[in-house]
């Protein structure tokens, strides 16, 4: 794209410094950042959490959470003006009109008590005198540009009535309605499902092409960087590590940090042709290699026709009026030492399945854990079964009680089950700590003293404390930075090799799933639509939904950048149905070597 090189400079950041007030005085969170943004160009600012990338975005908009954070030096030149020294009133006239921004969380970025029409109209009225039917026309036009279905109807709707993808479209409509010269997108697709992410990325790219908007895209996802960027700025701890054209960053990174960051990114398709999962150590672990025709081993988890439905009550007597069909008749089994991945998008029932397995939800169908059927067990009867099956959750911040020491947290299951006390408990916890790579001297600290990755290790230690045979890992690495994520995945695999653990690995991330699993089950609307070995599902996906999922994943290789994503309109239908609804069960067909695929209506 040589035309871009010659294009005019829209925004020029010179030696930017952003400071945050701490009890110990001002601390720089961004330092010495300089770049030029040209018309029609996309610059990606990439980095892990704490790299200062979001702070950079907020400083350009002058939306830093003052007085805690402020611009401590440097210039942000927009044309003749230095944004860093404008008054709030002058800045207000630029925001939305010349420079617009979209944020990470479409769920919380729109005001819940105001209609879409009002929020969009207001954005227009802030800079133009528009009223009545002219305003309505402009709002509808803005919604049409982001390809929202039934734009007229959306005007009267509230944010909670729209899906995440639609809300992000509304945010984009709002940001681009006045044709700003610069669009800042702070992790615009991080909270969205992959297929929706593909739609949103394509939308941003199309609108940018039409209008020549310059885009600053902030992201932690190197796949998104490779798909979207013309130039890349890699940041770490507030400093620029490296910047350059996207091809150069990916093919010939100069700095070790960039190389590490790229190496840690799980790449979809990296394991093409191989049967077992990727191993952390160079030496392949023979134990875990499950051949397509394995010796008959009794599965440690057997699930037959598992169905979970939630009732929605209403009416005068609070009778059941509708049901959420969360999981519909799914069957699978998990062998010792095996990892089965349940993958799918939000609302497909994968987490519900995991929770049913833990006996945390009422369900119908048969679930056997280590040979014991879970159905109809009382709480007391469930307790011994729980020793065999443990869970690691997604959010390592929310799943540790902030008032307990981490040692107590890890030892608590042992106390509850009456398995250890006193010095024995202490020894056992210390062993668990060292096993997951934590310093045993840290046992007496509290959760807030640990980083996200360390906390997830604490959660793993807690899950391991009862020596379970199965661990249900529900999006357990999704909240972690890629480099941390890679190390936690390594740990999980080491533990599996060593202890013969089985994992039910619930995830939306196709690349991670490809790395860790032996077998994969793809879920869609509460049912399994395709299941088989990792190689079968990833190298030869047969169901159209599986293909869509794989196709939608951004690939961290700018050489494979797509001209356009496969156009995927529409979103996953709702699983809420009336009482007389009869679910249609997709029949699974064996297309050879236990590769099961749901039959699709032609």
């Amino acid at each position: 794209m040589s035309a871009i090189k010659a294009a005019e400079t829209v925004l020029s950041v010179r030696d930017l410094k952003v400071q945050v007030a701490t009890p110990a005085g001002a601390r720089a969170v961004v330092e010495g950042l300089s770049f030029d943004l040209h018309a029609g160009e996309t610059i990606c600012i990439a980095g892990e959490s704490g790299s200062g990338k979001s702070m950079t975005a907020l400083s350009v908009m002058r939306l830093l959470p003052e007085p805690m954070a402020r611009i401590g030096g440097g210039e942000i030149l927009f044309g003749e003006r230095d944004l860093a020294s404008l008054t709030e009133g002058e800045m207000r006239r630029l925001r939305g009109n010349d420079i617009a921004m979209i944020f990470q969380e479409p769920m919380t970025s729109l005001n819940p008590v105001l209609t879409i029409g009002r929020q969009l109209g207001e954005a227009l009225q802030a800079h133009r005198t528009l009223t009545g039917s002219a305003l309505k026309k402009a709002v509808v036009a803005a919604l049409e540009q982001v390809r929202i279905s039934e734009p007229e109807r959306r005007l009267k709707q509230y944010p909670h009535e729209l899906s995440g993808g639609m809300r992000q479209r509304v945010m984009i409509a709002m940001a681009l309605a006045l044709n700003p010269r610069v669009l800042i997108a702070d992790e615009p697709t991080t909270a969205l499902d992959v297929t929706v992410q593909a739609q949103i990325l394509e939308l941003i790219r199309d609108l940018q092409r039409e209008r020549g908007t310059a885009v600053i895209l902030i992201t932690h996802d190197m796949g998104v960087v490779a798909e979207m960027a013309d130039r890349v700025i890699v940041m770490n701890h507030g400093k620029v590590v490296e910047q350059g054209p996207v091809g150069q960053i990916f093919t010939a990174p100069k700095q070790p940090y960039t190389r590490e960051l790229l190496a840690a990114v799980p790449k979809l398709g990296a394991l093409k042709g191989s049967e077992g999962p990727m191993r952390a150590s160079a030496a392949p672990a023979p134990v875990a290699d499950i051949k397509p025709t394995p010796v008959p081993v009794r599965p440690v988890v057997e699930v037959n026709n598992l169905t979970v439905r939630f009732d929605i009550h209403g009416g005068l007597l609070q009778r059941v009026v509708r049901r959420v069909h969360a999981v519909e008749k799914i069957s699978f089994s998990l062998k010792p030492g095996e990892t089965l991945a349940l993958v799918g998008e939000s609302g497909c029932g994968k987490s519900t399945t995991g929770r049913a397995l833990m006996g945390l939800l009422p369900f119908t169908g048969d679930v056997l854990v280590a040979g014991t059927p879970l159905g109809g067990l009382s709480r007391a009867q469930l307790r011994p079964v729980r020793r065999d099956i443990q869970m690691i959750f997604q959010d390592p911040y929310a799943s540790l009680d902030p008032r307990m020491t981490v040692g107590d947290l890890v030892g608590e299951p042992l106390t509850i089950h009456g398995l250890a006390s006193g010095s024995e408990l202490e020894d056992r916890v210390a062993w668990l700590f060292s096993r997951v790579g934590l310093d045993r001297d840290h046992m007496h600290r509290h959760p807030h003293e640990f980083s996200g990755g360390q906390r997830q290790r604490i959660c793993i230690a807690r899950a391991l404390s009862l020596s379970p045979r199965v661990i249900v890992a529900d999006e357990s690495v999704s909240a972690l930075d890629v480099s941390v994520q890679a190390r936690v995945l390594d740990l999980l695999q080491e533990l599996q090799d060593e202890m013969g653990l089985s994992y039910l690995f619930i995830s939306h991330d196709m690349a991670v799933v490809e790395q860790i699993s032996h077998r994969v089950a793809v879920m869609y609307l509460g049912q399994i639509v395709e299941t088989g070995t990792r190689a079968q599902v990833f190298d030869d996906p047969r169901h159209s939904y599986t293909r869509r999922l794989i196709e939608a994943v951004p690939i961290a290789d700018p050489a494979r950048k797509r001209e356009s994503f496969v156009r995927m309109e529409g979103e996953i239908p709702s699983p809420v149905h009336g009482l007389d609804y009869q679910p249609v069960y997709a029949e699974l067909e064996d297309i050879g070597a236990r590769h099961l695929v749901a039959r699709e209506a032609a």
Binding site: R92, N111, V113, L316
Partner: protein, 306 residues
């Protein structure tokens, strides 16, 4: 919606039955004897027994309650022991004054409290914020009769802006409303400040600023409707708190409401009046909460009444 209202009505009936029963029991086990009160000190035991029989007080508890409850179903609240008039009439003649006073109190606590809280939140950490919070604390912790007397002394006696007592014009209403409302205003100022601070941290406030909206548009258009939500629910509870406040406020200002009626009745153990006022207060509290619940979805579309 209709189903929701029907269910709430059913709940209200149960609440009223419960409250009437509890009040009746409390009055029954009270050591004081209404018949003796009516008969006077010099009456003979026979006279007292006669009066007791006339009033039906010699009947077993359940019979007494049954008579009272079946009367209620016909809209009969009974007759006052001492004033010899229908309780329903007595209450009806005094209720408008009390309702007016409560409405005035709600308006003053909302206007004063919400404004103070909003200004304090927006100016967080400033001298103004600190001053307003001290003031709200004074409002919360000063007994109502002290506030009443202070307001009377300053605004009626010293400045002469408002009448000292009585009922009839808007000027009569101002001081009693303020006296009744200041306690709530103090609470609301504190609640509003923390709700507002919380809302101002939300992502959608940042979005509103990113659109280029002016500060006042962000605060009044985006933050206020969200911050006021938790406070709406409190107004229903306030009516209950007011019920105890009006007894004090009405006697300080000579306001002819049911607070005074109740106070006189309690002193003389006039059971039908006590019961009547209690039930009417319970109705008012239930109704206040219902209105608060019905208003909430008008502000927050996510709330669905089921």
């Amino acid at each position: 919606m209709a189903a929701y209202l029907l269910r709430r009505l059913g709940q209200t009936l149960l609440i009223l039955i419960g409250i009437s029963l509890v009040t009746f029991i409390l009055l029954y086990i009270l050591p004081a004897d209404p018949a003796r009160q009516i008969a006077g000190r010099s009456a003979t035991p026979e006279t007292v027994a006669n009066i007791r029989a006339q009033l039906g007080l010699d009947q077993p508890f359940l019979v007494q309650y049954w008579r009272y409850a079946t009367g209620l179903l016909h809209g009969d609240f009974g007759r006052s022991y001492l004033q010899k008039t229908e309780v329903a009439e007595l209450i009806a003649s005094r209720l408008p004054a009390t309702l007016l006073l409560m409405a005035g109190a709600i308006v003053s606590e909302l206007v004063i409290g919400l404004t103070m809280g909003m200004v304090a939140a927006v100016q967080r950490g400033s001298k103004l914020d600190q001053g307003l919070m001290v003031l709200s604390f004074v409002g919360v912790s000063t007994p109502q009769f002290v506030i009443g007397i202070l307001l009377l002394y300053v605004f009626a006696v010293l400045l002469g802006w408002f009448p000292i007592g009585g009922y009839g014009t808007f000027r009569h209403l101002v001081l009693p409303s303020l006296t009744l409302g200041l306690l709530g205003a103090g609470w609301y100022a504190r609640m509003m400040r923390s709700a507002m601070l919380d809302v101002l941290r939300q992502d959608y406030i940042r979005t509103a600023r990113a659109k280029g909206l002016a500060r006042w548009q962000v605060i009044l258009g985006h933050a206020l409707p969200n911050a006021v939500l938790p406070i709406i629910a409190m107004i229903g509870i306030d009516i209950g708190i007011f019920m105890s406040g009006i007894v004090v406020v009405e006697s300080v200002y000579g306001w002819p409401g049911i607070g005074q009626l109740a106070w006189q009745a309690i002193q003389r153990i006039d059971i039908p009046i006590i019961m009547g006022v209690t039930l009417i207060s319970a109705c008012a509290i239930v109704l206040g909460n219902l209105i608060a619940d019905l208003v909430a979805p008008l502000i927050d579309p996510r709330i669905k009444l089921r």
